[in-house]
């Protein structure tokens, strides 16, 4: 069953790898690049590319100190993730509630 995308749905975040990255970042103040690499199973270059996409959207901030790199979700990224989750829940709610999906016909 398909349904329209509700407000807050974020095409950039919904891409599976990026959704994984921002979800990993969500409960953290910051995480090491090496943790993201291990958790996602991506190569350095593939992870860097996805982080750059998220950085350009203003959702993620990457800091480099010498050889150490850390990433964190910005407040804009946190808000976008929260809105995206709400949009996904709304889609499920619409699908589960027939009254919303098929409003009663007026007499």
């Amino acid at each position: 069953m398909t349904s329209a995308r509700p407000a807050g749905f974020n095409e950039l975040l919904h891409f599976p790898v990026r959704l994984t990255i921002v979800s990993l970042l969500a409960p953290a103040a910051h995480v090491e690049f090496s943790y993201l690499r291990e958790a996602t199973g991506l190569s350095d270059s593939a992870l860097s590319k996805q982080l750059t996409n998220l950085q350009e959207a203003g959702y993620v901030e990457v800091r480099r100190t010498g050889r150490r790199a850390t990433a964190r979700l910005t407040s804009a990224g946190r808000q976008a993730l929260s809105d995206h989750a709400a949009a996904l829940r709304a889609m499920l709610g619409v699908a589960l509630d027939p009254a919303i999906e098929s409003p009663p016909l007026s007499p």
Binding site: S3, T20, A29, Y35, A39, L88
Partner: protein
């Protein structure tokens, strides 16, 4: 975009957040962190048996040891959790237990004129910390507590 895909995306978000929570609060702290932090706390309390620079030195050493071990653990796990992602009460409870134990044991030692009363209280507080820290951290980071 169908409902099944939305459901899978939500499940993935939940699973990955929990993965970071588990990484940032391991269910068992390494021994060097547990006992090192307990030693740091004991040093801070032991400063009560000294005065002047010796007391300041013990407090500085205790704070540096506890803080340094926390930074080292964070480097090893690769994750620093947000305080909002954790439940506060288990951590507050273990801190209160450490303080109450150190103060009560130290006061009883002082009442019976036992020398090094603050150090003994600090050791007792550190022991409570070593026994309770892991459990408190696990309870604080239990999945279901969404950021």
């Amino acid at each position: 975009m169908d409902v099944d895909e939305a459901s899978k995306a939500l499940a993935e978000m939940q699973r990955r957040s929990e993965q970071t929570l588990r990484q940032g609060s391991p269910s068992r702290f390494p021994g060097w962190y547990t006992w090192g932090s307990a030693a740091g706390l004991a040093l801070i309390f032991a400063s009560g048996d000294f005065s002047g620079w010796a007391a300041i030195g013990l407090i500085t050493a205790g704070v540096a040891l506890t803080g340094g071990l926390s930074v080292l653990l964070e480097r090893i796990t690769g994750v620093r959790l947000r305080m909002r992602a954790l439940r506060v009460w288990p951590i507050a409870l273990v801190i209160a237990a450490i303080l109450v134990t150190a103060i009560v044991v130290g006061s009883v030692m002082r009442l019976y004129d036992v020398p090094w009363d603050s150090s003994i209280g600090g050791l007792a507080g550190g022991l409570v910390g070593a026994l309770g820290m892991g459990r408190a951290q696990t309870a604080a980071a239990r999945p279901g507590n969404r950021p």
